[in-house]
């Protein structure tokens, strides 16, 4: 199930762009696939146990995955996953 993962610039530098295509039936699988492809990105998307951080939020088609089962949320073909890390600049 190819899905598109949108990264902010602060994370895109650890991958090969802001828009990545990745396979997976759940958000966790998509994230794990991307983490395998880009090892430097991996620790910035999820912790060593593969769980989401409280300061990096994932949106599946603009809905917060924490309210859809977290990394277990099902991904369909063509879904869009947006990664939003906490930033504090002002």
């Amino acid at each position: 199930m190819p899905a598109t993962l949108f990264l902010p610039a602060v994370l895109a530098k650890f991958a090969d762009g802001k828009e990545l295509t990745a396979e997976g039936t759940t958000v966790g699988e998509v994230v794990a696939g991307v983490a395998t492809r880009f090892p430097a990105l991996a620790p910035r998307l999820r912790d060593a146990q593969g769980n989401p951080y409280p300061f990096v939020t994932f949106y599946l088609n603009d809905e917060d995955i924490r309210f859809q089962g977290g990394f277990a949320a099902a991904v369909k073909d063509g879904d869009e996953l947006t990664v939003v890390p906490a930033i504090a600049g002002g």
Binding site: P8, A9, V10, K18, R44, Y53, P54, F55, V56, T57, Y59, D62, E63, D64, R66, F67, T82, V84, P85, A86, I87, A88, G89, G90
Partner: protein, 407 residues
């Protein structure tokens, strides 16, 4: 929709400094004000009643920096009658690329002084109250309680959680904006029905993981983009018009010229706005891991150090040693210390094998923080004769060679 500020304050005392104020109630507009706000008054959705709401509104800006600049300028120009401004900083040359509230002539002045000059010039009808202090758990509730809306233009995680919790406790809308390099976020938190900042990010990242604008840079225009979005949201809340960014997070990608909104939900488990476990303000430095990070920084300062003067002396004496610069190539292009060799910190581990453990090694970066990490790596790999250049290339410029630019 009805304004979230429907219960805002009753009539206010006339201000003697405003023209004609003495014979008008505070929410009436003088002829001068009617002329000034003409382009608002002829919009049916604003009109005279809306402009009076703006005049009666009390808005607190936390921070007079990148976001605070466009916020203060536009809210003052729009006729927001009562603006509070919290800041403790002085204007620095590095602020001027984006903090348009302050000018070159203001460098070295308190930001609140230059802010007052600009705001008074833009709109003498605005009543400005300044708070020259760091916002803390001790003073936040006392300062915020007198306002209808709070706008978060701070630059660090502890203050963002502090502002959020104080707004939730006091029931004040928190107009949020945050920026980094080419991207920004904006939302409206802590309204009665909407989510708060903790619903979005329950916990902050550990210190050092997310670079600040001072460390990572920011496009000067970006706080203009996000700050004006925050100003727009504040005005919508005051007027009770439009669809506020409640329950939505706006993501701005300036490079991609893309605006995207994602949905935010109020988390029933949120300790601030969900379960209301947080009934008083906590130690936000502790919550954000700052004391631990400071302890680590203190340990870094205990590493073997060399001062810029001592380094210059060793170079002058012709000592045989390696000087390693662990900054990034784009920083190397700005300024460098003669004789240094560039090995960015990111690739340092794989380059360790190229270094000679029998030789003395001095490591430097911009300010001495990154090079301390490199010194630790070298010590961990068994290098015994390693020194960190105290204060980095910035102190080198101050104390040895002013021809090296500071950045």
């Amino acid at each position: 929709m009805s304004s979230p500020l429907a219960t805002a304050h009753a009539s206010r005392a006339p201000r003697p400094d405003a023209p004609h104020a003495s014979r008008l109630s505070s929410e009436d507009l003088s002829h001068d004000e009617i002329l000034r706000y003409s382009r608002h008054l002829i919009i049916p959705d604003v009109g005279l009643s809306g402009q009076k709401k703006l005049k009666a509104a009390r808005v607190l800006l936390i921070g007079a920096g990148g976001l605070g600049s466009p916020l203060a300028l536009y809210l003052a120009a729009a006729g927001v009658g009562n603006i509070g401004l919290v800041d403790f900083d002085v204007v620095d040359f590095t602020n001027l690329q984006r903090q348009i509230l302050h000018g070159t002539k203001d460098v070295g002045r308190p930001k609140l002084d230059s802010a007052r000059d600009r705001i008074t010039d833009i709109n003498p009808f605005v009543k400005l109250t300044t708070y020259e202090t760091v916002l803390t758990s001790e003073n936040a509730l006392e300062i915020i309680k007198d306002y209808d809306i709070v706008i978060d233009g701070t630059d660090n995680f502890p203050t963002r959680y502090l502002v959020n919790d104080a707004c939730v406790i006091l029931g004040k809308p928190n107009v949020y904006g945050s920026i980094f390099r080419f991207e920004g976020q904006a939302s409206v938190f802590a309204t009665e029905s909407g989510p708060c900042y903790r619903c979005l990010f329950p916990e902050p990242p550990p210190p050092g993981l997310v670079p600040s604008c001072a460390e990572g840079g920011v496009l000067g225009v970006l706080p203009g983009l996000i700050g004006t979005i925050q100003a727009t949201e504040a005005i919508k809340l005051i007027l009770g018009i439009g669809e506020p960014l409640i329950g939505r997070l706006l993501l701005v990608d300036a490079l991609g010229a893309r605006f995207r909104t994602v949905k935010l939900r109020k988390d029933p488990e949120c300790p601030a706005c969900g379960t209301h476990e947080i009934t008083r303000l906590i130690d936000y430095q502790e919550f954000c891991g700052v004391p631990q990070a400071n302890a680590e920084a203190k340990r870094d300062r205990e590493l073997p150090e060399i001062t810029p003067a001592e380094l210059a002396e060793r170079q002058k004496a012709g000592d045989d040693f390696d000087l390693i610069d662990v900054r990034e190539p784009h920083e190397w292009d700005i300024a460098r210390i003669p004789g240094a060799r560039l090995i960015p910190l990111g690739v340092f581990p794989e380059k360790l094998a190229e270094l000679d453990g029998k030789r003395d090694i001095v490591v430097h970066c911009r300010s001495g923080v990154r090079s301390a990490k490199a010194v630790r790596q070298l010590q961990g790999a068994g290098f015994a004769r390693v020194w960190n250049l105290a204060g980095g290339i910035l102190r080198w410029s101050d104390e040895v060679d002013p021809s090296v630019p500071k950045y």
